[in-house]
Symmetry: C2
Subunit: 394 residues, 2 copies
Amino acid sequence: MLANIDRLRELMERDGLDSVVATCPENVTYLSGFWAMSQWVRRGPQAYVLFPKGGAEPCLIANSGILDLVPDQNPWVKDIRRYGYFQIDVDTSVELDAADKLQKQLFESKPYDGSVEALAEAMKEKGLTRGKTGIDEMGITPQCMDQLVSLLPNVQFVRCFSLFERVRSVKTAGEIEIMRTAARITERAIDAALAVAREGVTEREMLRAFNACLAQNDAAPVVGCIGFGNRSAMINVQPSDRKLKKGDLVRFDVGGRYRHYRSDMSRGASLGEPHPRVAAYYRAVEKGLLRAYDVVKPGMKVADLFKEVVETVRREGIPRFKRSHVGHGIGVDGYDPPNISEKTTEVLEENMVICVETPYYELGFAGLQVEDMLRVTSHGAESLMSLPTGLRII
Amino acid sequence: MLANIDRLRELMERDGLDSVVATCPENVTYLSGFWAMSQWVRRGPQAYVLFPKGGAEPCLIANSGILDLVPDQNPWVKDIRRYGYFQIDVDTSVELDAADKLQKQLFESKPYDGSVEALAEAMKEKGLTRGKTGIDEMGITPQCMDQLVSLLPNVQFVRCFSLFERVRSVKTAGEIEIMRTAARITERAIDAALAVAREGVTEREMLRAFNACLAQNDAAPVVGCIGFGNRSAMINVQPSDRKLKKGDLVRFDVGGRYRHYRSDMSRGASLGEPHPRVAAYYRAVEKGLLRAYDVVKPGMKVADLFKEVVETVRREGIPRFKRSHVGHGIGVDGYDPPNISEKTTEVLEENMVICVETPYYELGFAGLQVEDMLRVTSHGAESLMSLPTGLRII
């Protein structure tokens, strides 16, 4: 199980919740271990996880058409309810293997008319017909929410997407292992993109090499910002046919998804000797990032981390450096808490996985950025990275 | 412009709407031509397109942090309003190029506190403080919706995601060109996966080849179901380490995203001679699909197309063939209307792009599926495919 169930129980108790319902793809997968494909590839398809307080069994609600995914994924939530019609035939002349047997059993279970009927019924069975239930408001459609309220008029529903975010911000050991691999794969893809870098290569050609490498390592592309020269100053630069020239800076701000978990990192490279101001500014933002490794530890105020990092960049060469944040948590979502900003009131906790970044964008000049993924340990910070942080000369 | 604006105006008039607001990624991109990156890669970030009836100018609302995407994408909606803070510096010692100049201008415009303040202000300016406005309920968060209602208490807001779906179901020439390319790239990726097929290759290895080929052709993977032998009967089979054996059927149900548009297709292959029942059943489902090319034309009832296809499969070799649908529209979403089912009351219209598919899943045996992307023409159907529909022997 990847979910931090202890933390979930703790926050449910803090908020006086009798149960919570995950509804958006990230939270459904996080809480149940089930990747409900249809809601990941489209907007609208409904899947829920009902998680009651105390010892009551959680329940997964999914469309009949994705139940074939259960045997391979083997989610820890075992009470699975389906809705909607899907026709599956069975070859009765052969002995089914274990996966097919389980599928057959799931397809023989009672189908509910819709997702909300199934959820409301599960809540009734678990005695959740009154009291307070947290509902993740980011995945359930307004129509389904209306229907749920009408089926359970005595339940007080409160929005709880932010509670899920807070639960997710402290990672379990299994999550950290996956994110370690996600980081390694993404670094390999940066190397693959740099391997095709030469005068005349286009941003788009480098992105192709980057994405193909992710694919070859079982990761999916999500963010692929690769910009050359003054285009590197575009915040989310989408690769174009701009050709690489001698002296160009190349900025990567890239990330993928591996086993449902995100990666996010940034590096810079220069084709030949960099412009002296590029080199100096790059060192300044790099030192800002490196400062995080000196100061991060559990209990540190996130706002203090922000200040340490920003002040370092200013002192090291960009006096006017200004940012709304210098990083964020990462997990099944690209931005888990904490947001590393001046206004954040949280403190760092052990096993948060955070991205620290110090991007500086100057139109007409360049965008300089170094971003690492790191884990808060019991006494400091552990990098999930292996690529050097320095500006790479290619 | 890709959006079918004439159809949008027509349906707005039908529903008595003074304006519509796109809020989910697909509709924002569809209506404005602007790919609002943050809402595509995460859940929560807000971007809107306000489209008033009559001649009033539409308006795009986006976070400051993605405005760098405007110059490259050059959306046809020119009234762009931003919200939130983002720090961008400018090199004042150089002459900015056109893209940087436009960025600078956007970053100098007034930032609103939040997305809803910006939207409400735009609606006020356009005189939309009463009357009926359609709001796409799939992208705006419940919190933002509450805020919008409180800022514009005299506006009657009605949900209009389904109106957008209906607008999108009839494609413009530009959309059809993109989808033609999306189909071609996906077929190439199927070929790339089959090129590595030999005894002992795994499902996962074939998916890697498939996804890497998409990446090399500027498309992103979305659906990658590739299953061998009895695993081909799993509806959404996710590639595993199962090795390919002589006589195995390989089922592909795959699709990607290219320039925001989806592809979706299915083919089968057999390593060596297929089992006779596999060959016979495959021919039956293939003939079901091919029947669509004989009967599709504008004005045909979708329910009649469903019947024609299902009856053909039954007659041609699978008497018990049963389906809830035999296809669907496709566009910026993987499932645009019409849903090709018995219950659909719509008729086919010229320039709908539809997927026709006749999957048959039998646990313990195999999953047989052929799926084409095709366009409804003025007098019939045009295939977007070039791969033969027959079972390929490898």
